[in-house]
């Protein structure tokens, strides 16, 4: 098992699927749909296999030896440059406790989304091809350990997403799609620039003793690898690390999305088809926070230390601002979109705590938010499929008409509010415990608890407007859920309840990695202090 390239398989399987889908004649709609579902299901199985073979005691983060399922070989190697000697880029995949939950999440959410895509009826072939391409991009981001590779995957999913929103989306889809694309591209060029800067600032020692510039994230994390003159090297007194950190952070923050870079999100969500909203909220948003944890934190530990207050501040703004905005919405989907803004704020707050509970809470919140929001968007999809409107005020009393559906809604909503017993609570509580545990973020954490209250406010209000009260007779013919919808919502509910009752497995999955990270940042701090670069 150890030599089997399972990460490559899980990443590139969808691309293979895409090729097959492209070869299937257009008429064979059933075959295309089923193939996609099968592929995503296989991905789930692979993710579970990964999980079963995962060694919980290994930390990862900055130490290649404690990464698992590593696949590393030379991808690009060019020698004989007079000026830099050698260029090399590795194909380097691996997982640790940080990425493993994300891999799981991606597999699950994509699988659910592929079921949700069953109702797509126009240009099916193109849809599923794009869907699978997107899948590869997302999975790749979470398993890549080479910055270059990471970036390639990061950008890979932009175009499919553009088309998925733009072709299969709602009335203002063009606007939403281009907005999404421009925003994220703006973010990613910043990432690109920092990537190149880092490339020239750190050198890796190869087996034969030569030193070469490197895109390897793990090597970039090692302070001993810095060059003397690199613009992002702390050894260079005029380094631009601070600015680079901000740039990188903005690049990732756009994906999160962090206030004030969040405005693409409501539009994208509102216009995207249900399955794509699910993926967007369930997986794509996590890439931003994942990127910060995977790249910004360990590569710039000293600046992270300096800026945690601001990260927490923006987390707080996200939480409260998102909640208020959600409250003001009349469109069901937009409300959920803003609630995502709010919930991703918890992730940022947890990250900023820089202690085990906070970061674990943040990662867990990423996972939980992925499942919960996926469920919320599916719920909106269910009602939209039937009523073809999403205006909150035009419903009412659906609880009587669709009791089972309302039951699922209640589970999802209360999970989003952070009701104990459901997964959202654990992660939010951990985030707050972590945030409170750090002197710097303490006050912000306390203020952020307001988000719990506001969350309850808008969620319950929504619940009431749509499901409670007298039944709006207009909707007295709506059917309750069908089998396909059960197939999507039941697994998610089970995950949400399971992790709410017993979060232990997920937490121990990430525990050693989080500890390693916290420790690394603390230690690196000391190192940078001796450099006097602070």
């Amino acid at each position: 098992m150890t030599n089997f390239p399972i990460l490559s398989l899980i990443t590139f399987l969808p691309i293979l699927g895409m090729i097959v889908v492209l070869l299937i004649p257009k008429k064979q709609e059933l075959a295309i749909k089923s193939l996609t579902i099968v592929i995503t299901a296989v991905q789930v199985v692979l993710a579970i296999i990964l999980l079963m073979n995962y060694n919980y005691s290994l930390g990862g983060i900055n130490d290649i030896k404690s990464f698992q399922f590593i696949e590393k070989f030379r991808w690009i190697e060019i020698t004989g440059f007079s000026w830099i000697g050698k260029i090399k880029i590795d194909y380097f995949l691996g997982v640790d406790g940080l990425s493993m939950p994300m891999v799981l999440l991606t597999a699950i959410v994509t699988f659910i989304a592929s079921i949700s895509s069953w109702t797509i009826d126009k240009s099916l072939k193109g849809y599923f091809a794009m869907f699978l391409l997107l899948d590869t991009g997302m999975m790749g981001v979470f398993v890549a350990l080479d910055f270059f590779l990471f970036y390639v995957f990061w950008e890979l999913m932009l175009l499919p997403m553009y088309f998925l929103i733009g072709i299969w989306g709602g009335p203002r889809r063009e606007y939403a799609a281009i907005k999404f694309f421009l925003y994220t591209l703006l973010g990613s060029v910043l990432i690109l620039l920092v990537m190149i800067g880092l490339y020239f600032s750190s050198m890796e020692t190869l087996a034969d003793g030569t030193r070469v510039f490197t895109f390897n994230m793990l090597e970039m994390m090692n302070p001993a690898n810095y060059t003397t003159g690199g613009i992002l090297s702390p050894l260079n007194p005029n380094n631009l690390r601070f600015i680079a950190y901000i740039g990188l952070f903005i690049g990732f923050a756009i994906k999160i999305p962090m206030f004030p870079f969040h405005t693409w999100l409501p539009d994208a969500h509102v216009e995207a088809p249900t399955a794509i909203s699910v993926i967007l909220a369930g997986v794509l948003l996590k890439m931003g926070t994942y990127g910060i944890l995977r790249i910004s934190y360990p590569i710039f530990p000293e600046i992270t230390k300096q800026l945690v207050w601001y990260i927490a501040l923006f987390g707080m703004i996200n939480i409260i601002y998102g909640a208020f905005c959600a409250m003001a919405q009349k469109d069901f989907k937009k409300l959920i979109a803003y609630s995502s803004v709010s919930h991703m704020g918890y992730v940022m707050l947890g990250m900023a705590a820089l202690n085990t509970m906070g970061i674990s809470g943040a990662i867990l919140q990423m996972f939980n938010h992925g499942t919960i929001t996926a469920m919320l968007f599916l719920i909106v999809g269910v009602i939209y499929d039937r009523a073809h409107i999403r205006d909150l005020d035009s419903f009412g009393g659906l609880g009587k008409q669709m009791p089972v559906y309302t039951g699922f809604v209640t589970v999802a909503f209360f999970a989003a509010i952070g009701l104990p017993g459901l997964s959202g609570f654990i992660s939010e509580a951990l985030v707050f415990l972590g945030g409170f545990g750090n002197d710097i973020t303490r006050v912000l954490a306390v203020i952020s608890t307001l988000g719990i209250l506001l969350g309850a406010g808008y969620m319950l209000w929504t619940l009431q407007r749509v499901f409670l009260g007298p039944l709006n007779e207009k909707w007295s013919s709506l059917k309750d859920m069908d089998f396909r919808e059960y197939a999507m919502l039941v697994p998610l509910s089970i995950i949400i309840i399971f992790l709410g009752v017993y979060p232990g497995p997920m937490l121990s999955l990430m525990n050693s990695s989080v500890n390693t990270m916290v420790e690394f940042i603390e230690k690196a701090q000391a190192f940078y202090q001796t450099l006097g670069s602070l």
């Binding site: 203002r172 606007y175 281009i178 907005k179 421009l182 925003y183 206030f259 004030p260 969040h262 405005t263 693409w264 909640a323 208020f324 905005c325 959600a326 409250m327 003001a328 919405q329 202690n355 085990t356 509970m357 674990s360 009393g397 609880g399 009587k400 209360f414 009701l419 104990p420 017993g421 609570f425 707050f432 415990l433 409170f436 545990g437 954490a445 306390v446 608890t449 719990i452 209250l453 309850a456 406010g457 808008y458 319950l460 209000w461 009431q464 499901f467 409670l468 009260g469 007298p470 039944l471 017993y502 979060p503 232990g504 937490l507 121990s508 525990n511 050693s512 500890n515 916290v518 420790e519």
Partner: protein, 693 residues
């Protein structure tokens, strides 16, 4: 008898209702009679709770039985070491009694509901909800740590939400559910903040470990001030859940739920959870925190009592009386009368449940008429309901031979003693005043409802005594409102088994200098951290306060009852004329001191306004800036109409103008005339030459 037996049994008590919930919910649609399963489960739960109570009191009267398992943990964390978050059960006498109370009332309410809810379209769902409520309530009672307390705290909130809004087709019902949940969350925020402080300081949630650390001198942020703050913050949870001022507004609205639910959740058990919480954290309350608690309790006992005077909805009157009685308990805790507070919790649970179920019986008979102005004369039609109602009312008014007299008298005596020792005389004065008001409005209720002439003859004709399953609980609960269950001495419970044996003396862990003087250990021999709370001064003061308190309270209770009779039965005073005379006061009371309006105008509208403002801000400004900057590329953008519209709507910033300008300029210079191009080229060369000369 092994202590493990208790733990196992308590697990049954905890999880049987959950099982009932899951089974009833999932099979509710298919199996029509699944509610019987839920009832069976509750009977089993009750039996288990009796077993626990018996075993605990007989076999382990003086020990705490604790059992815990790790829920999840963080190994080897760099900053905090190992962190383990535990689930645990702690059973002491209070737990056992509370369990018994919850299980008993819950069982009775279940049985009662079989008849009361008959014919409801979501009959089974109702029982499922009762099941999850019982589960969460038992969870609160059994837990040994503050986090689990919070968890179940929220879960009872959920079940309360579900049950208040059970008839969600009524807008008022769904509104009330939402209000209850959100108002409770406000209190929970404080509690959560308190939990954060506790965990940050002690790295554990367990009460016992926290208390031990406090005894050892570990304080939050190393200051007694923050210890007080922590206590007050935790108490915020109780303010919400026990509907104390200023968060009391949700409870009257919660009466939208089915009446048995009101009896179980909003009178007897869940609202008492706040008191239970304060009892659990009593060990860490400083004098400041206790004073704060006492003041809140005092205010909360007074305001609702004045409101209850004028209400016409039978359930609302009872709801306000509940708040008022809970205020008593909270005040009792604040003035240090720990035992009496819990005692009152228990007695109140029984008689208030009886009152609510009795009112349910009336409402059932009157075809869901709740306004007492349309009732009257029901005494003859529903004798059993009437007499149980009267007994319970006597109990709540504090007439001797009832349980209520014993517990209430204890509280009043303690407040008197407290006033004596500290000079805070407002507590006993308010206490007695409220006792007067309580007696008055309860008997006003009885007289208008059961005495006199029927006002609505049509409904009256159809009224009849309720079926056995509804009356039986009334009888049981009324019986439990008699003194004999608690003490052989009908006027003093001190020597009774409940107070002297069952309810443990409280243990205070706070640093000595933060306690009230009378709570400091009074002899040299007692070490400072010895968990003995009351000094001899206090015992003496209590002793002195006993008889005055008893007489005064007896006096006020009887005068209250008499006044009620004078006003409403014998009609010696023209009530309407009196009302007219004190119109402003009357309206003030009738409108519940305008709390709802105040909160609506401030917090609710404020929040909505802010959210709308921010929503607008987000759409127009933030997005506008972006679109404006896009208009950079885009002003430019003839080709998507939407884009432009939003740009124009929004804040088109300078960048937009500038780059739009450049876009146009660049385009305009491409005139299509080759000679212009050449001029431009030569011109540029000249300019370049000038720059780089």
């Amino acid at each position: 008898m092994e202590s493990q037996f208790l733990i196992n049994t308590s697990l049954y008590v905890l999880f049987l209702p959950l099982l009932g919930f899951v089974v009833t919910l999932l099979l509710g649609k298919k199996v029509k009679s699944i509610y019987l399963f839920e009832n069976l489960v509750l009977i089993l739960t009750f039996i288990a709770s009796v077993l626990i109570l018996y075993n605990k009191l007989v076999n382990f009267p003086d020990s705490k039985i604790v059992s815990e398992v790790e829920w999840f943990g963080f190994a080897n964390t760099p900053l905090f070491g190992d962190i383990s978050i535990k689930l645990g059960i702690m059973i002491d006498n209070i737990t056992a009694m509370m369990l018994f109370v919850v299980a008993l009332i819950s069982m009775l309410v279940h049985l009662y509901s079989i008849a009361y809810m008959k014919g409801d379209e979501r009959y089974n769902r109702y029982f499922a909800y009762l099941g999850i409520f019982t589960f969460s309530m038992n969870g609160i009672v059994l837990t040994h740590n503050i986090l689990m307390m919070y968890i179940f705290w929220e879960l009872v909130g959920l079940s309360s939400y579900l049950l208040i809004g059970f008839w969600f087709e009524k807008k008022s019902a769904s509104d009330a559910g939402k209000k209850a949940f959100i108002v409770n969350r406000v209190g929970d925020l404080g509690m959560f903040a308190g939990i954060l402080i506790l965990f940050f300081t002690y790295r554990t949630f367990s009460f016992e470990e926290i208390f031990n650390s406090i005894s050892a001198g570990v304080l939050p942020f190393n200051s007694t001030f923050w210890l007080s703050v922590t206590g007050i913050l935790l108490f915020c949870g109780a303010i919400g859940k026990s509907a104390q001022f200023p968060l009391h507004v949700w409870l009257p609205d919660a009466m939208e739920g089915p009446t048995p639910v009101s009896a179980l959740i909003h009178a007897a058990t869940m609202v008492a959870a706040g008191v239970y919480l304060v009892i659990r954290i009593f060990g860490l309350l400083t004098a400041d925190a206790m004073l704060f608690i006492a003041v809140i309790g005092m205010i909360s006992s007074f305001i609702p009592a004045t409101i209850a005077l004028t209400q016409n909805d039978i359930k609302k009157v009872l709801a306000y009386s509940t708040i008022s009685q809970l205020g008593y308990m909270i005040m009792a805790l604040g003035v240090g009368a720990y035992q009496f507070a819990f005692f009152h919790l228990v007695t109140h649970a029984f008689f208030k449940a009886a009152l609510f179920l009795g009112s349910g019986s009336v409402i059932h008979a009157m075809h869901h008429e709740q306004d007492i102005r349309y009732m009257g004369g029901l005494r003859k039609k529903m004798p059993l309901t009437y007499w149980t109602f009267v007994i319970s009312s006597l109990a709540i008014a504090g007439i001797p031979l009832t349980s209520g007299f014993l517990s209430k008298d204890g509280i009043l005596a303690s407040s008197l003693a407290f006033a004596n020792l500290t000079g805070h005389w407002l507590f006993p004065i308010t206490g007695f005043l409220v006792a007067l008001l309580t007696a008055f409005y309860m008997f006003r209720l009885i007289i208008i409802t059961f005495h006199g002439e029927p006002k609505d003859h049509h409904k009256f004709e159809h009224a009849h005594e309720s079926p056995f399953v509804m009356v039986m609980p009334l009888v049981v609960l009324a019986t439990l409102s008699v003194f004999i269950w608690y003490t052989p001495n009908p006027i003093n419970a001190d020597q009774g088994w409940v107070l002297s044996k069952w309810i443990e003396k409280p243990v205070l862990h706070t640093p000595v200098e933060t306690r009230f003087d009378f709570m400091k250990p009074d002899t040299e021999a007692t070490p400072e951290n010895e968990p003995i709370m009351y000094s001899t001064i206090y015992t003496e003061a209590m002793h002195h306060a006993h008889y005055p308190a008893m007489f005064i309270s007896l006096f006020v209770a009887i005068s209250g009852i008499l006044l009620a009779f004078v006003f409403y039965h014998w009609k010696k005073v023209n009530v309407d004329a009196l009302t007219e005379r004190i119109k402003p006061l009357y309206t003030f009371s009738l409108n519940k001191w305008y709390f709802d309006e105040l909160y609506d105008k401030t917090f609710v509208s404020g929040t909505l306004l802010l959210s709308r403002a921010l929503g607008w801000f987000d759409l127009k400004i933030i997005d506008g800036i972006v679109n404006g900057a896009a208009a950079a590329t885009k002003s430019l953008s003839f080709f998507i109409g939407n884009f432009d519209r939003i740009v124009i709507d929004g804040f088109v910033n300078l960048t937009a103008y500038l780059s739009g300008f450049f876009g146009l300029l660049f385009r305009r210079i491409q005139t299509g005339k080759v000679q212009t191009y050449i001029v431009l080229v030569i011109f540029s060369i000249v300019i370049l030459l000038f720059i780089f000369r």
